[in-house]
Amino acid sequence: MNTKAVLEIKNYSKSYGTDKMAVDHVTLNVMEGDIYGFIGHNGAGKSTTIRAVAGVLDFSEGEIIIDGHSVKDEPLACKQVTAYIPDNPDLYDNLTGIQYLNFIADVFGISAPQREADIRKYADIFEITDALGDLIGSYSHGMKQKLAIVSALIHYPKLLVLDEPFVGLDPKASFALKEIMHEMCRSGTAIFFSTHVLDVAEKLCNKIAIIRHGRIIAAGTMEELTEGHSLEETFLEADTDEK
């Protein structure tokens, strides 16, 4: 099957004012239909990479291309096809859930009938329909996470970028999200997400990159990387080798 790269990260580096690099020459490609897992220790550089992909973080070294557009030069074109869900979504506490979803739908120019159908569909899946009239400030962390996921799904992105998406989700919502990710992948969406949960990554992803101290220490398809071992064993082995 001929697939094209939706996300290309080329030699991306980022430092925070010191000699120590937060991310050091990271290069990877996420193709259409990929579910690409990005795993590593806390502080390894996962969020720094993901935030740069989302167009939130400025960077000087390297290039990030989304659907043929440069994040640096054409940020708007990139964001138009990307959905980003941070690990701890800071949503407007004093908006209601439905007001927030309408705000996102307005930004992406989604028609009224379309948004109504999609909000209903995804809010039902994540069981937050009843709470959509409440202020977001009254939501639990998990509910905010679910709302952020619904807001990401309603505009049918070509690239879905998630930072630790399963943290705070209940088992049913986690299962639903995984199902949706599979469904999106089948329709050609590229998914790039970070996680600590290796079991999830192993079951969900077709490609994996392991990052340590800002550098990619292993990357490839799940089969290439694990070679019959579990992802946990592969990760620990790669980590030990690198030390």
């Binding site: 004012g17 941070p86 800071d90 506490d93 004093n94 930004v107 009254s138």
Partner: protein
């Protein structure tokens, strides 16, 4: 354009009291919204009454033609100051930055909408001034009917240019500091330097203006307008448009506002992501080695935490420590220039025996130190982290004691330094100096504990942006405004009483009063700590 409207609408809705009232099921929250709205309306009313009274004064002395320029200058100065202190927090370094930047908005659209949001939020204040002065002007000057709509329309543009100037200054400070590793520290230092520069500038202009005003008042009141115009062009355009129906001036004000807005936000947009990335970044520490650690009591631990909270936030530091810095500058200035000369400048060379002002020294210092106590906003500043202190095995009174200890540690050394400087410069006898130091200490204790009472009573944890509690919360308004006015009154009273009563006796009496009030406030804090939970 369409996206700007969508974003602006969302920003306004996300802080709208009406929206919260309509959708919250929390009755306590609803009651709070109602009382806050009533409080704000009272403040608006006070401002309107004050402005009309000012116009009456101008009208009585035949200076009514100066009102348009005065209105323009008042709105401009307020707009500049309010915006400058809010830029870091509203325009840069705000909480929902990641969410907004990941959406398909141009960086300049986000920055521009944030600015417009600040403008719309502060518009009721400027509206009150403008409408009240228009009423005053209408009553005394009897202008043609066309002046009324023109005044109202142009008033909408009056705050724009000073707000843009303040936002641009904030942008420059953020841009420069983003190039350094210690971003917050550099940003704070630059902000302080800029504030001090503005204060000096205002003082110099004010001094020039005042000298001219005396003469101008004798000659003709329109002279004042032209002097104001010489200093600040938009005020001149407004005055000319209103008093002389100068359409060109009206157009200049509108066009300058619009083009400056477009130009400034084009520039800000270019650097927006870079600045915010730097401001939000926490420099990666070099290899840390665990060395010997020190144990502190819970009260000291809370005080130290408060210090870290303050030093990590430019907004908190600039807004709360400004009084302390200004008092220190005043102290140094009096030593360098001399108490008599400073008084001569302040009183515009009035023939005064400066020794009669000596009893006012602790109150002059307290005017700055008590400008805002960190205890006013610190309970609210816990925000979403409130759970941390609530879940600790310590009583709430310990938490408040820690916060009060921090405020005392911050304010007392500045108070002592400035009081000593003023006393040395004014050649105050040693015993009096000691008494003024004790009085200063009592005033600091009062400011700390009363600030804490206001902070606990009007605690607000559900803020979107810390500026909301540092700069414009009801706790701050309730603490700061009466505090400032009462201190101004006390300064006059103490000078008056000092002519009749011994200065030492006077200081002792005020010390006792301040100490008693501090004690009462402290006991209130302890009582509130037992029963108050948000």
């Amino acid at each position: 354009m369409k996206n700007s409207v969508i974003l602006l609408k969302a920003l306004l809705l996300s802080t709208s009291r009406k929206n919260i009232y309509r959708h919250t099921t929390d009755r306590k929250k609803r009651r709070k919204i109602i009382s806050n709205t009533i409080g704000m309306l009272c403040l608006y009313l006070m401002l309107v009454v004050y402005c009309i009274a000012m116009c009456a004064g101008y009208g009585t002395y035949g200076m009514i033609e100066a009102i348009p320029a005065t209105c323009a200058l008042t709105i401009s100065i307020l707009a500049f100051l309010f915006t400058f202190f809010k830029t870091n927090g509203y325009l840069f370094h705000f909480r929902e930055y990641d969410m907004l930047m990941s959406l398909p908005f141009e960086a300049r659209t986000i920055a521009g909408c944030k600015f417009l949001y600040m403008y719309i939020e502060s518009l009721p204040w400027y509206g009150c001034i403008s409408i009240a002065m228009l009423i005053g002007y209408g009553l005394y000057a009897h202008p043609p009917v066309s002046v009324y709509p023109l005044w109202l329309i142009l008033s909408l543009f009056l705050p724009v240019i000073p707000m843009l100037a303040a936002a641009f200054a904030g942008f420059l400070i953020a841009k420069i500091s983003s190039g350094f590793r210690k971003t917050t520290l550099i940003q704070t230092i630059l902000t302080f330097l800029f504030v001090i520069f503005c204060f000096s500038l205002r003082f110099i202009i004010d001094d020039l203006f005042r000298n001219e005003k005396i003469q101008a008042t004798l000659e003709s009141s329109s002279e004042i307008t032209s002097k104001a115009a010489g200093i600040y062009l938009p005020a001149a355009w407004f005055a000319a448009a209103v008093t002389r129906h100068d359409i060109l001036s009206a157009c200049l004000l509108i066009l300058a506002s619009v083009f400056l807005f477009a130009g400034i936000f084009y520039v800000i947009g270019i650097f927006y992501r870079g600045i915010n990335s730097a401001l939000n970044a926490h420099a990666a520490a070099k290899e840390y080695t665990l060395s010997s650690q020190r144990q502190h009591s819970p009260v000291v631990a809370i005080a130290l935490k408060e210090w870290k909270r303050m030093s990590g936030s430019t907004s908190y530091l600039v807004n709360c420590a400004l009084g302390e810095i200004l008092s220190a500058i005043l102290g140094i200035a009096t030593i360098l220039i001399g108490f008599d000369r400073i008084i001569a400048v302040v009183t515009n060379g009035a023939p005064l025996d400066t020794s009669m002002l000596q009893p006012a020294i602790p109150f002059i210092i307290y005017f700055f130190i008590g400008m805002i106590a960190t205890t006013v906003c610190s309970p609210s500043l816990e925000g979403k982290n409130y759970w941390i202190i609530r879940s600790l095995p310590i009583e709430m009174k310990t938490v408040y004691q820690g916060k009060m200890l921090f405020n005392m540690v911050l304010s007392v050394p500045f108070m002592a330094f400035s009081t000593l400087c003023l006393c040395i410069s004014a050649k105050v006898p040693a015993v009096n100096t000691f008494m003024y130091l004790v009085l200063g200490f009592a005033l600091c204790a009062f400011s700390t504990s009363w600030g804490c009472v206001c902070g606990i009573r009007h605690m607000r944890l559900d803020w979107e942006n810390e500026i909301e509690v540092i700069k414009q919360s009801s706790a701050v308004a309730i603490y700061m405004l009466p505090n400032m006015f009462i201190v101004m009154g006390l300064t006059v009273l103490v000078v008056f009483l000092g002519l009749r009563i011994s200065h030492i006796l006077l200081a002792a009496a005020f010390t006792l009063t301040a100490a008693l009030l501090a004690l009462l406030s402290y006991l209130t804090v302890m009582r509130l700590a037992k029963r108050k939970s948000p």
